[in-house]
């Protein structure tokens, strides 16, 4: 396999989580990973982001090459449409919850929670990463997005270890959504 510049995009993942650890506001950069695949799917009708430019995909590929994956088959239910669509709805529901919490803080109904939640269950204090320089809602969204990105990264890494390197890509909510967009743009493709 020829090495291309995008094979090094795993560095972006490291930078993202590293910078967010020290300053939570960097987690806003995660919106790039939300916007780019959608732009490519909506305007160009392709999944080039998943194929090449996804930093998580490149991280999983690189770790797989280093031998961290058992390279076993995924269970059939995990690659079925029910799970993929169900996980997509759940994931974007959780993103909606992040937006809702941000709105509550913005409107003064709730106060800023300086915690990072892992797997929507375990809450870790993260006060050192916010110095109070920006409005609380900006920080609240950053904490929420970082939690979501960290949780999905952990799930991706676990399935990489258990199954094949890019198992996450099979049920990645953004991948499923962009595939649906591409199908809507070009229905009834020939064999």
């Amino acid at each position: 396999m020829n090495k291309h510049w995008y094979h090094y995009l795993w560095i972006w993942s490291l930078l993202y989580f590293g910078l967010g650890f020290f300053n939570i506001l960097f987690s806003w950069l995660g919106l790039i990973s939300f916007a780019l695949p959608l732009i490519m799917a909506i305007f160009f009708g392709n999944k080039r982001f998943c194929n090449r430019y996804c930093d998580r995909g490149q991280t999983l590929r690189a770790l797989g090459q280093l031998g961290f994956s058992r390279r076993k088959d995924m269970p059939a239910w995990m690659k079925g449409k029910a799970f993929r669509f169900g996980f997509m709805v759940f994931f974007f529901g959780m993103f909606g919850s992040v937006l809702y919490t941000t709105w509550l803080v913005y409107s003064g109904i709730e106060s800023l929670q300086q915690v990072v939640s892992l797997l929507w269950t375990f809450h870790f204090p993260w006060e050192w990463a916010y110095s109070g320089d920006v409005s609380p809602w900006t920080a609240q969204f950053a904490f929420g997005l970082y939690s979501l990105m960290l949780t999905s990264e952990v799930i991706a890494l676990v399935t990489m270890l258990l199954f094949r390197p890019r198992s996450w890509c099979v049920y990645c909510p953004m991948g499923t959504l962009t595939q649906l967009i591409c199908q809507a743009k070009s229905p009834n493709l020939p064999e």
Binding site: M1, A41, G45, N46, K47, R48, C50, N51, R52, G57, R61, R71, D73, M74, K79, G80, R84, F163, R164, P165, R166, S167, W168, C169, V170, Y171, C172, G175, T176, T178, Q179, I181, C182, Q183, K185, S186, L189, E191
Partner: protein, 72 residues
């Protein structure tokens, strides 16, 4: 002189399951001949005449939906 050169196709080639494909592009990345690619962001498609049946895509596909089949 006058020798007829014919391209011999390998006996096997990769066949992805279009219905189950997540179009992640993992196969595209490892194919040494560029014989497999995600088509219109929807599913992996193989150029049968280019595929030599090396099986790299079969081993890489996270959903294990690519099989090697014998050419008809």
């Amino acid at each position: 002189m006058g020798e007829r050169i014919t391209k011999k196709l390998s006996p096997r080639y990769a066949v992805p399951d279009r219905e189950l494909c997540a179009a992640c592009g993992a196969c595209e990345d490892v194919c040494p001949l560029g014989a497999i690619a995600v088509y219109q962001g929807q599913f992996a498609k193989v150029k049968e005449t280019l595929c030599v049946g090396c099986g790299k895509c079969v081993r890489e596909c996270p959903a294990s939906i690519i099989k090697l089949e014998v050419r008809a």
